[in-house]
């Protein structure tokens, strides 16, 4: 349990820096790609900002627990284990969620694709870290 929490915490801090840092830079470099977020579907009064920024830790703890349960299934070099872990997460979790999101909400395909790739990237980073921290 201690290992799950510790590796979740470390992965959370790293994902927080990488993802929000990347998002901050991405918005400034490619503003056109983010114009569709000026959409009433997205919260706009700031009362859920804390939840938004907690996401890196929520996904890290969830993936840390998942890794601890099924890490025996991922074999080989730690980078390869991380990649496979990310792929499994993307197929099992992200794909169905993104599918229903695109089918039910008035958002663009590009937006959903970017969320899919963002989640896949997060899971690969987390998986690679777990392969080192909790082999």
């Amino acid at each position: 349990m201690k290992r799950i929490i510790l590796s979740g915490l470390i992965a959370g801090a790293i994902l927080f820096t990488l993802c929000y840092g990347g998002l901050y830079i991405g918005i400034r470099l490619f503003p056109v790609l983010f114009m569709d977020y000026n959409n009433p579907l997205f919260n706009s009064d700031g009362n859920r900002d804390v939840f938004f920024y907690m996401h890196a830790f929520i996904i890290s703890f969830a993936l840390s627990w998942f890794w601890d349960r099924f890490k025996g299934l991922f074999q080989g070099h730690f980078v390869l284990r991380g990649l496979e872990f990310g792929f499994v997460y993307a197929m099992v979790s992200l794909l169905p969620v993104m599918w229903i999101t695109f089918s039910s909400l008035d958002i663009t395909f590009f937006m959903v694709l970017s969320w899919f790739l963002y989640g896949f990237f997060q899971a690969v980073i987390a998986g690679t870290l777990f392969a080192k921290l909790n082999p």
Partner: protein, 206 residues
């Protein structure tokens, strides 16, 4: 003698008492002019976020209203009574998603109208001296909040002889207790300032 002249005086006195108030309260030299606001009136709002600019317009005014101007003298300030009420739902930002977002921000479902009430003008538009700046006071009611503003006007004549009065004013979302929208944890932020421009297309009736 007194008793016979009494009944003759009384009707005259009564008439005087009835007519006197109407002379007493008539504004001196006030010359009311009716301005009919035609459907060519528009309202434009320009704003920006940290990633883009937006320009949203109510392209027409489907319920013509009348403003009444009281000209005290030719070059002096004049009082105006009347207002225009525009539908927030009619805003069009040429980008469906942004249009919906602006309507939500302006609380269109709860407060469906923007009401601009005209109070005065610094002088009557002189069509032979169009370079002259005119100022005027208005109140703007938006999202249930009424605010008083001084507006700068430009004016011109249209081809069909109507007066076109263009008022501009920078306002803030916060003037109307509206928080500028922020998305993705504040990474995309709308700036507080909005440039409002309303075009009044006026048919003058004397």
């Amino acid at each position: 003698m007194n008793s016979s002249s009494g009944p003759l005086i009384r009707p005259s006195l009564l008439l005087l008492l009835i007519l006197l108030p109407s002379f007493a309260f008539k504004p001196s030299h006030a010359d009311p002019v009716k301005w009919i606001l035609t459907k060519e009136c528009t309202l434009k709002v320009n704003g920006s976020t940290n990633i883009n600019k937006f320009s949203c317009i109510v392209p027409e005014y489907v319920q013509p209203d009348t403003l009444i101007c009281y000209k005290e003298n030719k070059n002096g300030p004049l009082k105006i009574s009347g207002s225009m009420a525009l539908d927030v739902q009619k805003f069009d930002c040429k980008h469906a998603v942004m249009t919906n977002d602006l309507r939500k921000t302006l609380k269109a479902k709860v407060y469906p109208k923007i009401i601009i009430k005209f109070l005065n003008l610094s002088k009557y538009p002189d069509l032979y001296n169009r370079e002259e700046a005119i100022k005027g006071a208005v109140t703007i009611e938006l999202a249930g909040i009424v605010k008083h503003f001084e507006v700068d006007y430009k004016y011109t004549m249209t081809g069909n002889g109507n007066l076109k009065l263009i008022g501009t004013k920078q306002v803030n979302f916060s003037d109307f207790n509206i928080s500028p929208p922020r998305k993705l944890g504040g990474m995309i932020k709308t700036n507080n300032e909005l440039n409002v421009e309303f075009v009044l297309n006026i048919k003058t009736l004397n």
